[in-house]
Structure formats: structure tokens, C-alpha cells
Symmetry: C2
Subunit: 122 residues, 2 copies
């Protein structure tokens, strides 16, 4: 079971999933645009993630290199599962149905998903 990752922590993870290892400063640079967090804030989030053993640290002189210890897919699987369980009784179909009815699905989306499902069946 992957530890709970908060919203802010998740932003950091996305950066590290895209490229790792990175130093705290490098991570801060990459979230600066989107979030405008101070370097200190980023460091706090990195510490918390490291404390949860979701990312690993490797000393590099006076600083650390941070890398994810959890695959993005693994994390997504856990979160998706929880989401579907909590809101749609664990069934994916109602979720898709809901998104469809809420007009979240364009015709293109529908075609894409149909294609995907065809491939799944072999």
C-alpha cells in the first residue's frame, strides 16, 4: 500500500516522475511556474515524501538527489481504485457512464475508448 500523497506532494511527484534524479533546487525550478512555491516549501514537501519513503535520496556532496521510489502507474492504480470504490461502488462502468452523461466525453473520446476496448479483447 502506497502512503497517502497530498495534493501539493503530488505536484512534486509529477516533476520527479518526468525526470529524476533532481536536486531540491531543480525541483523548485520546475514547479515555480505552475505553483509559485518558495524553495523552502518545495524542500518541506520533499522531506515529507522522503519520510513516507515515496521518494529516495542519494547524497551528492552537500546536497541530495531525489528520485521516486514508487512508479507513477502503481500510484495511479491505487488512487484510481480508491476513487472508484468510494464514489462508484468500485465499478468502473458507472464512472464512465457518469462522465459520459455529464458530457465529459466527446465523440472523439468515445471512438478512442472503443478502439482501446477492442484492443483489450484481442
Amino acid at each position: 500500500m502506497v502512503e497517502r500523497i497530498s495534493d501539493a506532494e503530488h505536484e512534486i511527484m509529477e516533476v520527479l516522475w518526468e525526470k529524476a534524479p533532481l536536486t531540491a533546487t531543480e525541483v523548485a525550478d520546475r514547479v515555480a511556474d505552475a505553483k509559485g512555491w518558495s524553495l523552502q516549501t518545495v524542500k518541506t514537501l520533499l522531506s515529507r515524501l522522503a519520510a513516507k519513503a515515496v521518494i529516495g535520496t542519494e547524497r551528492d556532496g552537500r546536497r541530495f538527489q531525489y528520485s521516486p521510489l514508487v512508479e507513477r502507474d502503481t500510484y495511479l492504480a491505487g488512487v484510481s481504485r480508491k476513487f472508484v470504490d468510494r464514489l462508484f461502488g468500485g465499478k468502473v462502468t458507472p464512472l464512465v457512464a457518469h462522465l459520459a452523461e455529464a458530457d465529459e466525453l466527446s465523440d472523439d473520446d468515445i471512438r478512442e475508448i472503443e478502439e482501446l476496448l477492442r484492443e483489450l479483447k484481442g
Copy 2:
């Protein structure tokens, strides 16, 4: 925009979405099995939901009748949107793809979804 509803609060909402209006005691009875919360806890959650204007109260003598002010569908739409935005770049297809690859989709699920999509187009 619907206010953020916490996990515990969501449990309460599910009860009220199923049947409303209900008094605090009635709500407590209905979540007792699943969650084992004390009556006080349920009342706190009801107060917080009322403070957020997600449920409404109507005086009934010395007590309150609570009812949802937000439709379940509306709420689900908002939460689903946020979820898909945050984790799948706003695209539903990758979500379905992910669930599929993570073996979260049974053959039956796939058939159901295909059926659903067919209806959507027709």
C-alpha cells in the same frame, strides 16, 4: 463550485442522498454499522456540512431535519472532473486505459462499457 467535502462528510452525504430529510439521530443510526461513529461525531459532520451549505436544515420542534442541497450527480461531476484533471491531464481515455491495463476491468465491464458507448452514439 461545490465546497470540498471530506471523506467522513461524504459518508454522511451518501446517507442523505439515499433518504432525506433525516434527523441527526437517524443519520447516525444509518452510518452506525459501517463506521461506528458516535452520535456526537455525526452531529459535528452534519454541522460542518451545513456550514458549507452542502446540506440544509429545517427546524422540526427541538430538532433539525437535514437534507442535501447538492445533487449527488452534481457532486460526482465536480469530483470526477478534478480527479481526471489532476491525474490524467483531463482526458478520460487515459483513465480508462489505465484501469484496463491495471486489470481493473473485467470482460463483463468491457462489454458493459461498449454497450454504453453504443447507446451514447445512437
